[in-house]
């Protein structure tokens, strides 16, 4: 199993990582990227089972990353959870149209965040 955490904030990546480690997700299952460009490289090099993606990032933002990912045949159906501070309804609609599987508004952590992630890990070995 591989989970890719994509966020330009080191603190946010730590929060997501800690949430997953607390739920006994093995450390070697967690990959991190600080923008969409870095995430795309990892998506190509690895087989990612779940993406946790921020929206506002330098170089390649989360929305553009999701669109690129969905255009790649092997990630057409992989779960992508967007975790962002963007709380406006029009942002949620835009993200869903771009292909995100679920949309979660920051700030969030701990079991509340885990409850949003866990359903997408059921079928992952």
């Amino acid at each position: 199993m591989k989970i890719l955490i994509v966020d330009d904030s080191e603190v946010m990546r730590r929060i997501h990582r800690n949430t997953l480690l607390e739920q006994r997700i093995p450390e070697d299952a967690l990959l991190e990227a600080s923008d969409g460009v870095e995430a795309m490289k990892l998506a190509i090099a690895e087989e990612i089972d779940l993406f946790l993606v921020d929206w506002n990032m330098p170089n390649l933002d989360g929305l553009s990353f999701v669109k690129k990912l969905r255009d790649m045949g092997n990630y057409a159906k992989t779960p992508i959870i967007m975790i962002t501070s963007e709380a406006a309804k029009y942002n949620v609609v835009e993200a869903i149209n771009a292909g995100v599987t679920n949309y979660v508004v920051k700030p969030i952590r701990g079991t509340i965040l885990w409850d949003k992630i866990a359903p997408y890990l059921k079928d992952v070995g």
Binding site: D8, S9, E10, V11, M12, R14, I15, N18, N56, M57, P58, T84, S85, E86, A87, A88, K89, Y90, N91, V105, K106, P107
Partner: protein, 153 residues
């Protein structure tokens, strides 16, 4: 600036500091700032664009920044390193993004946050638009949220 444009930032700040970080926070009465360049040790800035223009600044002392980011991250910080500045930027990003939910008059795009320390800087606030400061008292120390948003005619 109308209350309907100030309150979303106040409510988003309370949601972050009080509800999420669990701090005891009390907002003061918002006021028009005489000198918008008068900021504390650490300030995080985010630009607002789209159907209006504006800016949002979260400003606090060094010690308050350390306490708040430690609370956010779950790790104790003693110095203003890159991770603390990153955390401060994330705080203003959350306030701006969350406030958009209640700013129903415009579609707004937020910039990436920037963080500045010390007092030898100037912020280019939108011209001709007042800067409103919302003061907050908290058990992590006082802080201010300054917002300027051009209202549509």
């Amino acid at each position: 600036m109308k209350a309907k444009y100030v309150n979303p930032f106040l409510n988003a700040t309370m949601g972050l500091f009080k509800d999420f970080l669990g701090l005891d926070v009390t907002p003061g009465k918002p006021f028009v700032v005489d000198d918008p360049q008068d900021l504390s040790d650490v300030s995080a800035l985010i630009g607002l664009a789209g159907e209006t223009t504006g800016a949002l600044v979260l400003s606090f002392s060094r010690d308050t920044a350390l306490r708040v980011v430690s609370r956010l991250s779950g790790k104790d910080y003693l110095a203003l390193g890159s991770e603390v500045l990153d955390g401060v930027g994330e705080l203003v990003n959350i306030i701006a993004g969350n406030a958009k939910k209640d700013l129903l008059d415009f579609r707004i795009v937020i910039s990436l946050p920037g963080v500045i320390t010390g007092n030898s800087y100037r912020i280019n606030w939108p011209r001709g638009v007042p800067v409103i400061s919302i003061p907050f008292a908290s058990d992590a120390g006082d802080f201010r949220v300054n917002v300027s948003l051009k209202e549509l005619a």
